[in-house]
């Protein structure tokens, strides 16, 4: 019983009293329930309120399908682009010293610090009909704003930092000695990247990709500005949800919203798993670095 009394002793010394702990934990749980669980559950509740039949009908309706398709296209283009860019930027920043490095790091963060609406407006300003390059684009019959390319551009912009942000600290912790060792052993730059660098960052990379993907599919503000909301043509899922909602088509709106909610849940599950693996990799890097 000595152990038990020790525990009691310690808890009295190092933690708040029981009532305070209960109060704080309770408050936190209440908050989570009110602001996260209830809304999430209500999405599915509203979507299914009039039965499964109507729910599925709302999802396979042509405009909804077109929104899903466009969302997938935007994600399929922007995520790989950001993956390549993110790896290249993180690699340059973490493994080399060069002038303007801190400027580059700040630039990468720009999409995080600027409102998505502003991001959208920037594209309108540049490539819109009245924009800088507008006349030239019209002349050559290239449509960007109020068309799919604009949506992809806006999505690329807002998801820009995810992969790079995730990789920079990881690669900095790992240093470049393993790459140097690979080179002394005769590996080419390409071999070094595929066999040494990439395996060392794969979990962090996947984590960044999952976050970028979630953002790409869920983005509203920037996409809204450049989309023009043409039904069946330039609507992504979030935009489609808004239109349906404004038309008081609640089943349709919530049915599409439930897709996004589902995406969020899947992302969360994947993220937790990858986070766990990435943490292990980062920990190993730190351990190696301090030895």
């Amino acid at each position: 019983m000595a152990g038990a009394s020790n525990n009691v002793h310690r808890s009295i010394v190092t933690t708040e009293s029981r009532s305070v702990r209960w109060l704080l934990t309770g408050l936190a749980l209440l908050f989570i329930a009110l602001f996260l669980v209830v809304p999430l559950a209500s999405v599915f509740y509203e979507a299914l309120r009039k039965g499964f039949g109507l729910y599925f009908q709302a999802l396979v309706e042509p405009d909804a399908l077109s929104a899903v398709k466009l969302t997938l296209i935007a994600a399929l283009i922007s995520v790989p682009l950001n993956l390549v860019f993110g790896v290249a930027a993180a690699w340059a920043i973490a493994k080399f010293e060069f002038r303007g490095k801190s400027v580059l790091i700040t630039l990468i963060d720009l999409p995080f610090s600027v409102s998505p609406v502003v991001a959208g407006l920037i594209y309108v300003l540049m490539v819109g009909a009245q924009g800088w390059w507008g006349p030239w684009l019209i002349e050559h019959d290239i449509k960007i704003i109020f068309a799919i390319p604009g949506i992809v551009l806006a999505t690329v912009f807002v998801t820009f930092p995810f992969v790079a942000r995730e990789l920079i600290p990881l690669m900095e912790a790992q240093g470049s000695e393993e790459e140097q060792a690979a080179m002394t052993l005769g590996a080419s730059g390409w071999q070094t990247f595929w066999r040494v660098t990439l395996p060392n960052i794969k979990w962090g990379l996947l984590y960044g990709v999952i976050l970028a993907n979630a953002r790409a599919m869920g983005e509203f503000g920037a996409v809204s500005v450049v989309s023009g909301h043409i039904r069946g043509e330039t609507n992504t899922i979030p935009l489609h949800v808004e239109i349906l909602y404004n038309e008081y088509n609640f089943v349709g709106a919530f049915a599409c919203a439930s897709l996004l909610a589902l995406l969020a849940l899947v992302t969360l599950a994947l993220k937790s798993f990858v986070e766990w693996r990435a943490e292990k990799q980062a920990e190993a890097a730190r351990r190696d670095a301090t030895e």
Partner: protein, 368 residues
Amino acid sequence: MRRGFNPSLLPPHPSQGNPMSIEIKNINKRFGDFTALDNLNLDIASGELLALLGPSGCGKTTLLRIIAGLETPDQGQILFHGEDATDTHVRERQVGFVFQHYALFRHMTVFENVAFGLRVRPKKTRPTEAVIKKKVHDLLGLVQLDWLADRYPAQLSGGQRQRIALARALAVEPRVLLLDEPFGALDTKVRKELRRWLRRLHDEMHITSVFVTHDQEEALEVADRVVVMNKGKIEQIGTPEQVYDTPETPFVYQFLGDVNLFHSRVHEGWAEIGGARIEAPNSPNETTATVYVRPHEIDLSRDASDSAIAGVITHIRLLGATVRLEVEVAGHEAVEVELTRERYQDGAWRVGDPVWLNPREARVYTAG
């Protein structure tokens, strides 16, 4: 217990009998305003085991990395076997580099780490899987760690990682082996064992090797020749005996072992320290001089003498086989004297005893 070294496990080595010489000519290297290597020249004979010895920050790693091609010199040339290799890429230099912190590939097993250099070869020269397997196991046998083939680097001890890093470097049959503080991160006992092992390995393979250390004992024990470096320059090159017995500069004298310093003036070929006269035949007359005397090169006597340094024993420390006495001398810092256990007992020295010190050996360096 670690098993003994077994030379019969050695793989045949193509560089055997054909080791490489390295010439380093007028190498300069700066980092910003800081001069890391200052017009450095060094010839490394083929097949020798050379130690780069010097204090932290003196440029040892930088020099080693320049030889490897991991760093480019601002000026100067590196010749491998008489051929200019200054612009040769690391990949083509065929050097084995063992990093201070091993730099093992953390996501690969020990086996894959050692096999790496063979697997990345171009298709034409890449050995078959069976050959790779045999070769890796031979090398793991050579470093006596065959039983660890399936482990990951994180699951190894420091000494084991060190030997795996060595095996990995040897797998590509390098023409030169470069080791950066190979035993730096290990405890004294393992380090002593490993450096003897490295020496035997070198005697078998005869591969031109350069290793960096800031441990003078390690350099003196293992190397054929020692290069003492300081502030990006070479102070002295020589066999361990040469640098230890006839240090050419005060720095080398001080860096290799403990030393007592006396400030003095040279007067007609003699430097005087507290009564003791030291011969300084080659020093210009009436110049300030510093006299260096090693603690074990001082005799103690109870007999007062005009030609000895008078002092009083203030501390006695027993260090295993030797005894260190600290002697207070008027007008000087405390002088350290080292005696063998027997001589200390014969003299029956006590703290507080007055003594007269007589340097048996000394070196005089005049200023400038």
